[in-house]
Symmetry: C2
Subunit: 243 residues, 2 copies
């Protein structure tokens, strides 16, 4: 990502193709601020949870892998905060509404051991990233680039797949427990996402459509959820788990 | 820091001025591996402790500042590990001897609250960084550059000074408690450093001198400790604390 100073002022009148037009719409602008606030708080929270999970690591090598993932998540916060500020909003105010649903998600999915933590990082992050990629299709170019950079693979997936598969091979009963765990993660993620959708009108309108942005009809939203579920199933299969 | 692949192979014969000569000495090479292992484990441990301290943050802004410091410490681990590997050693084996003294330091200096955590990050890191800067004077150019990059200021100091000074202004009794705390940090750091010096011959010989490296006599070591103590006193004064 180039720093935000390299790009045209998103609030300015002339400049990129769709950016000024879309961001001139106060509802769209509010929605973008909410979206970036949600992603930023999610990264902070992911940092905290991964740092906590790292304590459960059986070996120093594993701890370093998870701590590295935590640090990588955190480095994504600053560009999101800069962009929120450039849009004339306060990053901490923008994150505030998402603190409770994201913390509730984590409270309800506190890993009982190292492997539940690994699966959560892989499956939970994957789900959130897929969702933000779906939303990215409805964004102006600059915001889309920023969102896509924020959900880029950190290279942690191969580590998780390797460790979880080896553990299940050594103890097949673990596979059954982790399969249930994956289902619970999906359920909790949907519960909190629905809550956010119900409470944050601006953000929801990104999907439902706004002034000059076409939205999704119910059938299209249904198809989106089908895609998210399919990707979730694929991820569980990568881990050797039924979903 | 350029990646280690851009620089001449430190183990190779021709190349930089002093590097191949110094690193041809197995005792010096072992000392460098130990030093880099100590710094790397210190960074991992700093990451863990700062991530823990971040939980005590009174506001989300404070939490983000401390989590950012944690992430910054962690990004310094990879170049140290790469260099240890380039020197033909295993990074995790190199870190292993320092795990216990560093963890003991942290166990004996677990912050009781947010402010003790802030002072510890500032005073403890500052002390360790000053010590590594002193050792850097005895290193070949490449290793020196790497060590100096690993102890570069992260910009966290201004945040700590601001928060601690404001808190002492609001509650002067806090100043007395934190002054005692600073003294304890210094004492524990010296205890563990002495233990490492007694147990790690190769590392100690960096200061005491080796085959083609001149060392310090006792008077010079005394002057080094005087400089470290003076810098500690300056840091405490920056926080508005007596040392």
């Amino acid at each position: 990502m180039p720093p935000s100073t390299d790009r045209p002022d998103p609030a300015g009148a002339p400049g990129g193709e769709d950016t000024p037009l879309a961001l001139d719409d106060p509802a769209y602008r509010e929605a973008v601020v909410e979206l970036l606030g949600a992603i930023a708080y999610g990264e902070i929270s992911a940092f905290e949870r991964l740092a906590e999970d790292a304590k459960l690591a059986p070996r120093l090598e594993d701890k370093v892998a998870v701590a590295g993932k935590a640090a990588a998540e955190f480095t994504r916060v600053a560009p999101l905060h800069e962009r929120i500020t450039a849009l004339g909003a306060d990053p901490f105010a923008a994150m505030a509404p998402f603190r409770e649903p994201i913390e509730l998600f984590h409270e309800h999915t506190a890993p009982a051991d190292w492997y539940e933590g690994l699966v959560k990082a892989f499956v939970g992050d994957g789900l959130a990233d897929d969702f933000y990629r779906e939303i990215a299709a409805f964004l102006d170019t600059d915001t889309r680039d920023l969102v896509l950079a924020s959900v880029e693979e950190t290279g942690h997936a191969a580590f998780v797949v390797d460790r979880v598969r080896a553990a299940i091979a050594a103890d097949p009963r673990l596979g059954g427990r982790l399969a249930l765990w994956g289902r619970r993660l999906m359920g909790e993620a949907l519960t909190q996402a629905q809550r956010v959708a119900a409470e944050r009108d601006a953000l929801s309108s990104l999907l439902a459509g706004g002034a000059d942005v076409p939205g999704l009809d119910l059938a299209a939203i249904g198809r989106m959820f089908t895609r998210l579920t399919e990707r979730h199933t694929e991820r569980m299969a990568e881990l050797g788990l039924e979903s």
